[in-house]
Subunit: 202 residues, 4 copies
DNA sequence: TATGAATGAGATTTCATTCAT
DNA sequence: CATGAATGAAATCTCATTCAT
């Protein structure tokens, strides 16, 4: 159900698309290139996807959906907002690191202007944003985060920071591990948010 | 008055391109659309630019170059790293706010994957990054910023935050003023960086 | 029947190209004109040929290749250099006469300067030249041709003469038969070459 | 009047055109390239020539016209058809050798298909052909050429041979002198034409 | 379901020619 | 006469999508 490979063409095409998009960029990725990478005929693509745009959108929905579900589950098991924040950073980075091509697509290719693509992406992204904002709201409520922070802006800071760090990693030769930066990034962010940031050692 | 000395076709085309790119996205902006927006013939474009890509690149270099020069000048007049940080945020936001179309192009359209575009953009962007990192290094040296912050990561936080806030603003209907957020964003960032962030009462 | 096994788009396009090139000249032959003459879509051309130039080159290689093979085969069956020379003239003229459009393309359109076209043509043409030079060398060795003739120059005379006669024929309204001139041309050439040109009474 | 250089733009443009056509081929020679080579503005070209085609045509008429006049004059001073033939070969080759660019244009670029160009060229070329045919007719009348030769075909042989030899020279790296081949070429041709070709030793 | 040959709209770019100065 | 910036028609080629098999 989750690991889609082997036999089901839908998954095959999606995997191929991740690779091709990552290597060439959305606009330089021909449908035929995806098809041949997936080992199917050009026409077959259209049995599973409405059009090229739909591949990118589905890809995002599928992958991002899974990711958000995971984050949700893991955060539910924690109560401390600060711990949640840290976990979120860990998951964000490890997720991207696990599939570098996917990371490239999400960090670079998805920044498309096409309104249809944007709005299709909005859904899962908003959900992710909501998770972040929940942490922030909890933190404010519990008193461990500054009471004066603007939740939306703080969320922008968190996401913007994670995103920029990830983008740098993708654009670099990726000769360092993204997950090695969790600690540092966490420290930077939590200081700006948590009242008493005697940082949890470790 | 609007910025295009009439008769200066180069500028005219650049202004037109900003508008057309902002409204349609780079890949949906035909050269002929830019030409007619600029009030020139299609072929005239190619008297001033090598090709379509070159329009986008020139546009960025021109605008970003000016912006960075301005930032440099203004920061030189300040000595306090905290004050510099604040000024930088103000300039970043007011710059984007001054030309919403340009902001859209920079925040959305430019995030393409085309290697040629990316590398052309790299130069000015690195310069901007360097400015930020200088502030951070100064802050660490003078003791007003935490000594343990990683300059590169902190720069990612600053830029990522500004960038994300700006993107949200561009993607919203822009029914609020970006510059109204300077104060809040500054507070968020400085707390994560400055040791003694009894924030300058601003 | 005419040479294009229907359904074979490659051949269809080539036949169409011969006609269109002959009627309009290479530079005045739009790809779309060839496509519509061939009864295929413009894009279809590019499934079979890399670009417009490639059509002309393929056309030449295909036709010239076949022709040379035929000449080779037929000459092998003769031993007398003088007889070989005559046969070559016959074949040269009848070949061109069999497809007047092709003749036009070869005599007129192909004499372009485009270096890519030139070098692509060189191969088969050199082969043809080699055949001629072989006849001349044999003739010298067997003593029936003058021992003092320069093989390369004599080949230029043979080819130049055939070529010029053919060009005149193409440029005339073609109201006479090229093959009717075999005898006369042969007589002119052989007298310049063969020692004892009591011409074979033909 | 004849040597046009220095000051008169008409000649300047023509010289430039010879060079540019020779180096790039007619269809790859932009009018602007000719203009800049001639040191005049693009528009100036159109004060002296109707259009691009007219440059090529004028060039041919001018150069070819001069050449034919010269040949005429020189042949008039000779009476022996055989000597005339030899002189013609000498002039043909030395003329081409004197201006290699012009030679290239005449040998290669002029083989255009454009009917307008072709017919414009026809005039001077026919005149040249007529000269050759006159020699042949005289030779037949005086009995020194075979009585059975077809004047038109023999002319094709002469011109075709000279042309092909010249083309080979142009297409080679031109590391040998064309005029060194006069003797050999003459011998080849005269044997095919003259009854008693105990070749004039020299 | 799966194929992949064929389609054809559409985009970029070139360049001969014009014309206001 | 001379200029050269501007024009805009026209041509090549790409590629997402279809559909007969």
């Amino acid at each position: 159900m989750v690991g889609n490979k082997s036999g089901d063409k839908y998954g095959l095409i999606l995997e191929a698309a991740v690779k091709v998009f990552a290597e060439n960029g959305y606009h330089n990725s021909q449908v035929s290139k995806i098809a041949s990478e997936a080992g199917v005929a050009d026409g077959t693509i259209y049995l599973y996807f409405q059009n090229k745009k739909d591949i990118l959108i589905s890809l995002f929905r599928e992958k991002m959906g899974n990711f958000i579900e995971q984050v949700k589950r893991e955060l539910e098991e924690l109560s401390d907002p600060v711990a949640k924040l840290k976990r979120l950073i860990e998951l964000h980075f490890s997720h991207l690191e696990a599939d570098k091509n996917l990371a490239t697509v999400i960090q670079i290719q998805l920044r498309q202007s096409d309104p249809e693509i944007r709005s299709a992406i909005t859904g899962p992204l908003k959900e992710y944003f909501r998770l972040m904002e929940e942490i922030l709201a909890e933190g404010k409520a519990s008193g461990c985060f500054y009471p004066d922070i603007d939740v939306r802006l703080a969320r922008s800071m968190i996401f913007g920071t994670l995103d920029e760090v990830a983008t740098c990693w993708v654009l670099s030769r990726r000769d360092y591990r993204l997950s090695d930066q969790v600690e540092e990034v966490f420290r930077l962010l939590v200081r700006g948010l948590a009242v008493n940031s005697k940082l949890p050692s470790g």
